[in-house]
Structures are given as C-alpha cells and as structure tokens.
Symmetry: C2
Subunit: 316 residues, 2 copies
Amino acid sequence: MKKHIYIFSPSSAVRDKAAFKRGVLRLKTLGYDVEIDEAALASYQRFAGDDETRLAAIARAAASGADVALISRGGYGLTRILPQINYKAIDKAVSKGMRFVGLSDFTALQNALLAKTGAVTWAGPAVGEDFGTEGQPDDIMEACFDDLITGQGEGTGWRLPKVATKSIAANAYPATAESRLNINNAVLWGGNLAVLSSLVGTPYLPAVKGGILFLEEVHEHPYRLERMLTQLLHAGVLAQQKAVVLGQFTNYKLVPHDKGFKLATVVQWLQNRIKAPVLSGLPFGHVPTKVVLPVGKKVTLAVEERDAFLLWGHSH
Amino acid sequence: MKKHIYIFSPSSAVRDKAAFKRGVLRLKTLGYDVEIDEAALASYQRFAGDDETRLAAIARAAASGADVALISRGGYGLTRILPQINYKAIDKAVSKGMRFVGLSDFTALQNALLAKTGAVTWAGPAVGEDFGTEGQPDDIMEACFDDLITGQGEGTGWRLPKVATKSIAANAYPATAESRLNINNAVLWGGNLAVLSSLVGTPYLPAVKGGILFLEEVHEHPYRLERMLTQLLHAGVLAQQKAVVLGQFTNYKLVPHDKGFKLATVVQWLQNRIKAPVLSGLPFGHVPTKVVLPVGKKVTLAVEERDAFLLWGHSH
C-alpha cells in the first residue's frame, strides 16, 4: 500500500509555486500518495494564510490520518501562534503513528509540542526546497525520508571534521576502548538556532536534561550565532546537555572587520564554555543533503575516531 | 568645574577612528574634561580587545570617578562577558553619582546591572556615531546629554504618531480629565530589542513588574522584530508592564513578499496582544536625535492628546 503524505503550510506563504509543484510531482514519482491541504497555497501578508487559517491547517494535518505530515516550506509564522496550537491533537496523531516532518520555522512547533506533550516529530526536508529543487533532489535526503516513512530508519552517521575530533579529545569525555564517545538514552532535540533561542524563557522550550541538542542556521553571521548560543548558555540550557551537535551553518557573509572572528571561533568558544562535547558536521540544515532526525526521541550518540552516529533504533 | 567624561569600549572595536577623534574633540569643545580609557581603541577580532581587556576597561570606567562613563560605540561583545562583569563595582560608582551612558549592545550591561543590583544607568549617545558625526551633532542629543551630566534633566517629551493615540483610546486605559494616560512610579527599562530579547530566560533580564519597557532596533526586518517581541510576550514579560514605549526602528528593508506586513502591522499586532498601551515615536534609537533615558529609574509616563512625557524628576 502506498504511503500517505499530507502537505500543509504552517509558516510562510509558498512563493515559488513551480518548486512546490515539482516537489509534489517528485513525491508522487517516488511512489507516495500525496494529499495537499486546502490552504497549502494560501497567502496573507508574509504568511500562508492568517493565523486562524494556519492553525486550521495544522489541525487538518493532525486529523488527516497520513503516514507523514510534511511542511511545504519554513519561513516565519509559527512562534506567534504557539499559544493557540492544539498540541493534544498532534500528540494523538503521533501516538497513532503519524510523523510530522519539517525544519527551520517548524522548529517552533516541534519543540513546543515536545515541551507540552513529549511527542516525537522529525526534523527533515520540506516540499519545495528539497523535493522541488530544479535539479535532481538529493539522494541521501530522499533515502532518509523513505526510510522514515517506511519505518526502516534506525539512525544516521556522518564524518566529523577534524576540529571536532580534537575538541572531543581535549574534552577528556569518558571514552571506551572501542569508541571515544558513547552516550545512551539521551533525548535528541533542537533544530534551527534562531527559532530555538527565541523560545528560551517561554513555556515552549522543552526542559530537556541530559539531552543531545542539535542546531543549524542559515543567513546568520557568526557573531549573531554566538549571541543566540550565549542565550542558551546563560539560561543554563547547554549545561544540562550531554552533547551539542552542530549541523550546517550556511549562507552568511564574513566582513573585513571580523578580523579572524569566524564560525570556527564561535564553535571553539562554545566548547570552552561547556563540559559536554561539541560535535560538528551533522548533515542537517538549509542544505540539500539532510538526514531526518527525531526531535524528542531517546538516542545513542557514538563517536569512533572521526565517525559519528546518532542511533534511535526502529521508529515503530 | 568641568564635568569629567570617561570614554571606554566595552563592545565592538572602534573602526572609524576619525569619527572617534571628532567625537572626543566635540566633547572637549562642549566644555567637558575628557579622559580616554587606555583600551578604548584596542582591537581583537571584532571586539575592542579580548574579553579580559574589555572587562578591565569596564572596571577602570567604574573606578574613574568621572561624572559620566560614556561608550565609544555599541556593536557586539557584552552578552558573552555578562557573567564576569563586576556589577558591585559599577553599582558603587553609580551610588557615588557616576552615570553610565550608552546604547545598543550596552543594553546588555545596563539591564544585567539592573537585574543584579538595581543600579540606574542611562540610555543615550555614543562617542563616535553621535558626537563624532561628520556634520554638526544633533542639538537635542547634545542638550539632553548636557542636562544629564549637569543634573538638570527632569524628563523628556515627544509627539505621538496618530496611530499610537488611537491605540490608547481603543485600549480604554484609565484616563483622567486632564490626561489620557498617567502612570506613576513605574520602573523604566529596556533598550535594544535584539539584545534585550537575548537576555530572556537568563539571570541578566531584570524582573521588572509594573514597569515601562522602551525598545529600539536597527537593521531588523519587522518579522524579526515580531519574533523578538513574541519571546518577550510568551515569557510573560510584556504582561507585567504598565506600558511599552517604542523608539525608532530603522534601516530595515521591506520586500515584495511582505505584502503589507510592515512595522505598523507588528505594532498593532503587539497592541492586540497586551492590555498595556503601546506608544510609539520615542526619540531614541539608532538615529541622530536621541534623548537620554534612565534605565532602572522610577518614572511617570503621561499622555495628553498626542503629547507624551516621561518624567523622572531631578537625577540628583
């Protein structure tokens, strides 16, 4: 039986309708049964419909009975409607096996849901940017998505950049003979750094202790990334994590007066301020090659030399 | 006797040294005795010296015995050193009559100091951008600064834009026959919105109840301003204020897909979400004409038709 995907728009309006159509076609070509929410292409100011329209779209996605509820795109629009979202309805859908998939602005819903109900959602692709790209969609992205929708995915692995391996060593984190790092039963959570840091101090930030926090960002200068990380640091969030895993931080511009202040500076600064290891290179963010990651699920993080693994077992 | 100004650099490196020199000269021309911190022109990466250098500069400013400790410029650099700042030393200097003056990134120190000690500092100009401008410095800015340093300032007034007056009326805020709005004994606090929202959930955000929150920002699109305001809203900060006073929000670019989403949209959205009145037009921000405002001082906010006043009496 074909897997059922419900596409909805909880954030910004779909502007690139050609990419959206290509994405829908691609998903159908991949063998999925695709259902499009009635307001998926709605538009009000910057948003995919006014607040009520988008809240109704989220509710319809939760009630759709689909295998996957997939966002059309990110952008902006969820933080302002967080108090009105029916988290119980989403929790109920998730408990019946539905997987909510998205990224960027969707980070707000994912973490608010985790805070309110503990329900697991998935950081992963969006229709337009990922499946609707003008060229061939990324094959790793598609394989990870298919593993998720068919329940085959058990984890993900990636190659650490050299600097990250050094950080672990310098950190003297408990290591076994087989692996330099092995953290079990830790809740994986996080997403977009700007969105996540905007939840600090609100009821929508999950109180995850002993977790693994993953972060990504786009279009933000390293000094702004550092300010966001500083908020998580000063709020005590980072001290409560067993690891911080950095995804892709892309499309920002350094300027001459940075004078050596760059992303690596911020990563090293962060590592110097927390005991937990800071790993880099996670293939997730505003980039074509993105894995899927369970937000709110207990995972194992293992590092052996420069090979890192996030393992969550069968998602069924 | 000449009033004594101590210039220091707690944030970004001074890049425009010509503007800095013009600013120093202008302050001398205005009759002040100007002392320049030894690290005022220090440079490390983006910063006016490394963290230790800037912490030492802040300590020297507090120990200088000057009438005013004035920042060279804002930028970025204070949030990351908030845990290391000696707030007691600044509090002691303030209690002896020293006024710390600055804006933008300085918001971090000002509000952290308020949170830690209750000491009052002043939102006001910086050396380079305000006194060191290529043309004639703004005369209102200079008059307000002189009132502050000589202890003559008792408040400030401005003309509300029409939309703000409507908001008050719609809000049915307690009004007397003489004035539409009269709030007494409310702690004025705030500053730069991005910096202030980055303090939410940390020990450096003052727990001001029944206060008057003023905000300004530069280079931030209205949707980002809304996300920052949303953090203050969801954290419960806005519900605890008796008024929100918006200064100048400047130098952002709207885009075609905003489709009517603009600064006024955000202001109205904010007013719809809080009971307290949201006033606009305060002459403070990244603009030439800026008043000085006491951060942490009890003030009276009065509005009569379109005339708004923030009054704090003699600062001695």
